[in-house]
């Protein structure tokens, strides 16, 4: 492509001031190794796609949503029934959240199974786990915002869980709820967390995460690393980006289709005094934890069963976060056990989730 004289001038004017050529040069030289696990490299950008959709649809919803007890439910009803195309926007926001969380799980599990987190990429994994928790936080706070009976009860349960932790638990519950109970204060607080606090945390973490990926380059599979054979590579720009663009279009199409076919429902506004409706359940990605809390007995020996369950969950989180540090001998027996643990974890989550729906 021939550059016009003016275009070149503008470019050099910008380059002198912002040093953009170092970035474009970097992207030109960046390449993606090709191997039989390359397909998993696309999951990260799929997450990014849904995150961008979340941000844009979130901007739209904020124009009409009212985060106070008396109006929250009615304002969502208005978005669904009166605002032109409001129902599609809310539906896309809700479905895109589901896709985003699903792809985060796939992304993390593929990295776990392929051991792409091994040295020196531990920091990339850890920021990734924190990004997962940020996203789950988005899901948890966003679930309450329509303020209907189901989301109200699910939030009562979710915010009461930390109470089982000795000493600090009570404070965590109060902090989340903005008081002793889930009330209008909780709704306003969750809204603030959902649209202000979590986005800032997520963007900072995302910046570190993406920086680390650029700095350290793409991980290559363990076998390829051992055989020291030079892998085929394709340029990031434009070859890989074009392939990603195809995936983005397909995923966006799927998301839009299910959003139009299956818009989320909206129940009656929550009543603080009404009994919990039957069949309450959290978002699908919390179902396995929900089922675990349900099957734990009230007492295990002389300890509160719930406390045991919560400590097991916390232990799981800590192990998950430090996985690359624990898995320090990836091609030995220990590494193989940790790989098998990934499949056991998937099996456990699937079984518990299905059980909770029965």
């Amino acid at each position: 492509m021939k550059k016009t004289k003016n275009g070149g001038q503008i470019r050099s004017w910008l380059d002198e001031r912002f040093g953009l050529s170092s970035v474009t040069q970097f992207l030109k030289n960046k390449s993606i190794p090709q191997h039989k696990h390359t397909i998993w490299s696309y999951t990260g950008s799929a997450v990014l796609l849904f995150f961008v959709i979340q941000v844009l649809t979130g901007f739209m919803l904020i124009f009409y949503y009212k985060p106070i007890l008396e109006e929250a439910n009615a304002s969502v009803a208005r978005i669904m029934t009166e605002v032109p195309l409001g129902w599609i926007l809310r539906s896309v926001h809700s479905w895109s959240a589901t896709f985003m969380i699903a792809f985060i799980f796939v992304h993390l599990l593929s990295i776990w199974i392929n051991k792409a987190y091994r040295r020196p990429r531990e920091g990339t994994w850890m920021t990734g786990v924190l990004l997962l928790f940020c996203s789950l936080g988005f899901g948890f706070t966003g679930y309450l915002l329509p303020w209907d009976a189901l989301s109200f009860s699910a939030t009562k349960v979710g915010t009461d869980i930390p109470r089982a932790i000795p000493i600090v638990g009570e404070w965590v519950t109060k902090l989340l709820r903005g008081g002793g109970d889930v009330t209008g204060d909780t709704l306003t607080r969750f809204f603030g967390i959902h649209v202000c606090i979590l986005p800032i945390f997520l963007l900072v973490l995302l910046a570190v995460h993406v920086y680390l990926i650029q700095k350290l380059g793409m991980s290559i599979p363990l076998e390829a690393e051992k055989s020291q054979k030079k892998l085929k590579e394709i340029p990031f720009w434009p070859n890989f980006i074009y392939r990603e663009a195809i995936l983005w279009l397909i995923l966006f199409g799927i998301c839009l289709t299910v959003a139009i076919a299956f818009p989320p429902s909206l129940e009656k506004a929550a009543d603080l005094m009404a009994p919990a409706p039957e069949g309450i359940k959290p978002e699908w990605y919390f179902l396995f934890l929900f089922q675990m809390l349900k099957i734990f007995p009230a007492k295990i020996l002389f300890i509160n069963g719930e406390t045991v369950a919560v400590f097991l969950i916390l232990l799981g989180i800590v192990l998950f976060f430090f996985l690359p540090v624990i898995d320090n001998k990836p091609d030995e027996k220990k590494g193989k056990i940790i790989k098998a643990a990934a499949f056991l974890f998937i099996l456990y989550v699937v079984i518990m989730s299905i059980w909770s729906l029965m």
Binding site: T159, W171, L175, L272, A274, P277, L293, A298, K299, N304
Partner: protein
């Protein structure tokens, strides 16, 4: 520079001083933030209801009243006596309902069951429903957090 009999150098002393000062300043900033994000919350000591609104409920049935921001449950037993509970499950705080036919309280969140006197009998609840204390003074039905003589 460190003097012969000194425990630390001048640089260490100054670093400690500045560090301590920064720490103290940070603490004085964090304290009001922590105070701010925990709103005052107090469970009511008592609520006063109109007795006439509640005395005519049928035996083996309940009526809800607001106990702060939680539901309170007033129940009439078969012998006509009244009982009051905080109507939230002791497991994970969901609002419970009374199933009159089965003579049990039920929490739909995790399938928790209590008998008609609020004792936990099945499912995950670790404790009985919290009982409140009732007294009637003239036209007023007074429900208290603790039994006061």
């Amino acid at each position: 520079m460190k003097l012969k009999h000194s425990l630390f150098s001048r640089r260490q002393f100054l670093n400690g001083l500045i560090g301590g000062w920064l720490g103290a300043m940070l603490a004085s900033l964090v304290y009001p933030v922590v105070r701010f994000i925990f709103p005052p919350y107090k469970e009511p000591d008592e609520v006063i209801l109109l007795y006439s609104d509640y005395k005519n409920i049928f035996p083996n049935s309940v009526k809800i009243f607001p106990w702060g921001s939680k539901p309170g449950i007033l129940k009439k037993n078969d012998d006509g006596s009244l009982m009051a509970f905080v109507g939230v499950c002791t497991h994970l705080d969901c609002n419970v309902s009374y199933m009159a036919e089965q003579r049990k309280f039920f929490c739909a969140c995790h399938d928790g069951w209590y008998d008609e006197f609020g004792s936990n009998i099945a499912g995950p609840p670790p404790k009985p429903l919290r009982q409140l204390f009732i007294s009637v003074e003239g036209e007023e039905l007074i429900i208290k957090r603790e039994e006061i003589e």
